[in-house]
């Protein structure tokens, strides 16, 4: 049963091949058995899952039949789940039981999804390797000595290891797409404002988006359908109707104009990845797509701009973690300043502290113009590049990452080394565009992903291209050894 995709599960539940409860129990057992190798879960919610599964079965018996009714999923551990620990991978929130549900959690529960647990992640979503979690590093099921990517590394590893068919992730600079690429999954970051951020603990407010991670585009469509939609509790949520993503999967790619940015294929890209990307382009051409070379001239400035904006917003967002109303509090604080400094100094890991300091510095008196404002101007240049490009093409294609999954610990000496891995994914967050990564092959047994970007609210187009690609390739069907 663990091999089944969400779509197959929906069919299986509908024609009563098995019940949600049976499926849930089987997956929970598998999680307990195999996850010690991966460390992809922070909390496994057995009781909650079983009661939700039973409720889904009862609803189905009463005549309901939604695609997510009884679907087993997990939530990245920065989505607030009422009554359940929501840790953000941090000691700071190890003791935090969320007093409410995130909108994404509530919507999926309403649709009948079953929450198996909360997945591991880089602390407060800051990282691309899932090595910074308070709960320990997550292993890549394709090679347990390598990173799965981050910050949604737990969701990625769990789904790739077939512990469950799909999970939610969040993406601020690539944290859905990059781990999806490194673990051979399909992951989608929606348009900024497509998915509600209420209850999605913030890292960088103007960049964060929640999205689906699964093995196929078809599954991503199902999960995204349950996540997307306007939420009046989120001022940045956009009131745009949600299309039926499943119907958009089947369109023909005949005449689809695909742009390949020339800046993508420069010196920093592993040539073996470049080859696989070119191979995927050939497949898409066979399906009728037309390829054009385009230019995104300001792409190279994206990383510095991101590493100002994201830490700046984060430094402010994380000020509420002060040991006063919830979360970690140091022992015997001698005065207020001591309470703050030790609760935060002991509660936050070193990467989080570094980014808070960079952000604090970037916003401080005398530096605001040179850093924050400058970064926001570069952000507009990047958006302008995309707007110009999309006048001539329908999607933009390229590698998701410049390198394969690296060995755990390999990039720990210099924080900047990991930052440079974000080069392809970061621009979509800065511009707010939707992006998807899909499996496109393997090098030395390690997965490679291809990224697609589309104009605002064209998630359907991304899923369409990925789905059609997945009809003529089988990368997405491969499973890692031992799982």
């Amino acid at each position: 049963m663990h091999q089944l995709t969400l779509a197959e599960i929906a069919r299986g539940l509908a024609d009563k091949s098995f019940s949600a409860e049976e499926l849930t129990r089987a997956l929970l057992q598998r999680i307990h058995q195999l996850d010690p190798q991966l460390n992809s879960f922070i909390s496994v919610t057995d009781e909650l899952a079983i009661s939700q599964a039973k409720a889904a079965d009862a609803r189905r018996a009463a005549g309901e039949n939604g695609a997510l009714l009884g679907a087993p999923i997990a939530h990245k551990d920065l989505f607030c789940t009422q009554g359940v620990r929501t840790s953000c991978g941090s000691k700071m929130l190890d003791s935090f039981t969320a007093p409410y549900d995130a909108t994404v959690v509530a919507k999926l529960a309403e649709a009948g999804a079953v929450t198996l647990g909360k997945t591991n992640m880089d602390e407060f979503a800051m990282g691309s390797a899932n090595e910074s979690s308070h709960y320990g590093a997550v292993k890549n099921p394709w090679n347990l000595e390598h990173v799965p990517g981050g910050s949604s590394g737990g969701s990625a590893a769990a789904v790739a290891a077939r512990l469950l068919p799909a999970a939610t992730g969040t993406d601020t600079g690539g944290s859905i797409r990059q781990p999806a690429a490194l673990t051979s999954l399909t992951g989608l970051k929606p348009t900024y404002g497509r998915v509600s951020r209420w209850g999605m603990i913030a890292y960088a407010s103007s960049l964060d988006q929640g999205g689906p991670m699964a093995r196929t585009a078809e599954d991503c469509a199902l999960l995204l359908q349950g996540m997307a939609g306007f939420d009046p509790k989120d001022s940045t949520s956009i009131d745009e109707p949600v299309p039926d993503y499943s119907t958009s999967l089947n369109g023909s790619l005949q005449g689809l104009r695909i742009g390949l940015p020339k800046e993508y294929f420069g010196a920093g890209l592993d040539p073996r990845i470049a080859d696989l990307v070119q191979a995927s382009v050939k497949e898409l051409e066979k399906l009728g797509a037309v390829i054009k070379e385009i230019s995104l001239p300001n792409m190279q400035h994206a990383i510095p701009a991101y590493y100002v904006i994201a830490p700046a917003e984060a430094s402010s967002n994380l000020s509420r973690f002060d040991g006063v109303r919830f979360g970690y509090r140091c022992e015997n604080p001698k005065d207020l300043t001591d309470l703050y400094k030790r609760s935060r100094g002991e509660g936050f890991g070193s990467e989080v502290q570094r980014r808070i300091m960079v952000g604090t510095y970037a916003l401080s008196a005398g530096y605001y113009d040179a850093y924050y404002l400058k970064a926001q101007k570069i952000r507009r240049l990047i958006k302008n590049d995309f707007m110009a490009a999309f006048e001539g093409v329908d999607v933009i294609l390229g590698p998701t990452t410049p390198n394969l999954a690296w060995k755990i610990g390999a990039k720990n000496a210099d924080p900047v080394a990991a930052y440079l891995e974000d080069v392809y994914t970061i621009t979509a967050n800065l511009a707010g565009l939707p992006g998807l990564s899909m499996p496109a092959g393997f090098v030395d047994g390690l997965p490679v992903g291809v990224q697609l970007l589309a104009p605002y609210f064209q998630e359907g187009r991304l899923l369409n291209v990925a789905h059609q690609y997945q009809q003529v390739t089988d990368w997405h069907t491969r499973a890692p050894n031992g799982f």
Partner: protein, 481 residues
């Protein structure tokens, strides 16, 4: 050395909305701690702010009333600092693009002249919670009920030159926000709080001196005293050879002095940046036009009109126009009673002292404007005298009904039958033969007082009901005759 005082005021007004500025919590004052603190107000992880439309409307009304530019594209910014009453570790405020821009307010000075004070800007922000220091050994207790209440911070130009001008300005703002119905102005409850920026400079110098900020002065009287004591302190400091350090100070009313506050944000780097959880607020011109049409007549216009329309003195006009409720009450009484000056007198004096005694505002007056107006009609048609009217007024205040009812019940109708009065007078004169002889013997000057004696006796004999005019007339003729 001749010193000139320079004062600028930052007034924080709590807007009288039902719910908070960014959350749906109630804004009621005085509730049990943390019973009006929602997830958003507590700064829980994952929460997001959504802007209250009424706060926007109220801010715009204020802007229109002070003739200001409205920021039709205004932006919320985060002011970052750590303090336990600030749950998110930042206050959502406005920095570069406030909702209200430059405006002005005219204030009436003691000598009767009018001075125009410039207002630099007014912006929306959220209030912080409260720290209670007293009850917990070694700990302070934090109540976040107030956190998130909408504030409109009104910043004046440094154009006031004396403590009295500053007080006049605060009073004018106080009246205006109450007029507009956007703030209840209750300084004791903290609905309106004043920070005073004070500096001095040698007369004639163009540059400003170093200023100190006196925070959270919460009564008109304290504002005047705080400014004066701070000015004194600065003068003495400089004349002793010292320099004024820019700092935040608190006013201690018991010692009548200001003291330096141990700063809660020592290195005041607030790292302002636009709040990414909120989008720019766009205010359409059509919205402002509609809003402008709902502006009530404002204090300066009302004062002017009370003088021209009702012939009141400037002083009376100012008193009656000092609150919207009082002005409306007065006008109703004048309309019903038909005599503006009489109405003015009764509202300011009799009603005024009654309200004072009961400790209530005019909107809780035990005598309605209709009742008072009705009573004035009876004075004017001579049913009752002005003196009897006081009895009627007291009875109305006691809930004994309308004027006509009371007059009937207590049999207070003025006795105006001249025959009856004559008879009373004859009895009085007969009963007081000695005084009558003294009167006849006395000269013009002494007669006045004696005349009053007979009048008094007649009024007493008639239980106050005799028509005073007739008493006077008939007595005169009797005495002369």
């Amino acid at each position: 050395m001749q010193w000139e005082v320079v004062i600028g005021l930052e007034i924080h007004t709590q807007l009288a909305t039902q719910s908070k500025i960014f959350s749906g919590s109630a804004t009621t004052f005085g509730s049990e701690p943390n019973t009006q603190a929602s997830l958003i107000d507590l700064g829980m992880p994952g929460v997001l702010p959504v802007l209250n439309q009424e706060a926007v409307r109220m801010a715009c009304m204020f802007g229109l009333a002070i003739d200001a530019e409205i920021g039709q594209h205004n932006v919320f910014a985060r002011k970052n600092y750590f303090y336990p009453d600030l749950p998110k570790g930042y206050q959502i405020s406005q920095m570069e693009l406030p909702i209200v821009g430059k405006g002005h307010l005219d204030i009436a000075l003691e000598d009767g002249t009018v001075k125009r004070i410039g207002i630099t800007r007014a912006h929306l922000e959220e209030d912080a919670g409260k720290s209670l220091h007293e009850d917990f050994a070694g700990s302070s207790g934090i109540d976040l009920n107030r956190a998130g209440t909408p504030l409109l911070e009104i910043v004046s130009e440094p154009e006031m030159r004396s403590a009295k001008e500053a007080v006049a300005y605060v009073k004018a703002i106080h009246a205006l926000v109450r007029y507009l119905g956007i703030c209840d102005g209750n300084m004791a409850e903290g609905s309106l709080r004043c920070d005073c920026n004070v500096s001095i400079r040698p007369k004639g110098q163009a540059e400003f001196g170093t200023r100190c900020e006196i925070k959270n002065v919460n009564s008109f009287r304290f504002i005047e005293r705080a400014i004066n004591s701070e000015v004194q302190r600065q003068i003495e400091l400089i004349e002793d050879g010292g320099k004024v350090i820019q700092e935040t100070r608190l006013y201690d009313p018991n010692k009548d002095e200001t003291r330096s506050m141990r700063s809660k944000e020592e290195a005041n780097d607030y790292r302002y940046f636009p709040d990414p959880d909120l989008l720019p607020v766009v205010i359409e011109s059509a919205y402002l036009d509609d809003l402008r049409a709902t502006l009530p007549e404002l204090p300066p216009q009302k004062v002017e009109r009370f003088q021209s329309q009702y012939g009141l003195s400037a002083y009376d006009a100012n008193v009656l126009a000092s609150s919207r409720e009082q002005a409306e009450y007065f006008e109703k009484v004048a309309a019903i009673g038909g005599d503006a000056k009489l109405a003015a007198n009764w509202v300011m004096v009799e009603l005024g002292s009654l309200l004072n005694k009961l400790g209530v505002e005019i909107d809780q007056a035990p005598v309605t404007a209709e009742q008072l107006g009705g009573m004035l009609l009876r004075i004017r048609d001579n049913t009752i005298s002005g003196k009897i009217a006081k009895t009627v007024f007291e009875a109305m205040a006691n809930g004994e009904g309308d004027a006509d009812q009371i007059i009937k019940d207590k049999d207070l109708i003025v006795e105006s039958d001249s025959g009856v009065i004559e008879k009373i007078l004859d009895e009085v004169l007969a009963a007081n033969a000695e005084q009558l002889e003294q009167y006849r013997a006395a000269d013009e000057a002494k007669r006045g007082k004696m005349f009053g004696f007979f009048v008094g006796q007649a009024m007493r004999a008639s239980k106050g009901k005799a028509d005073p005019q007739q008493v006077n007339q008939l007595l005169k003729s009797k005495l002369e005759g």
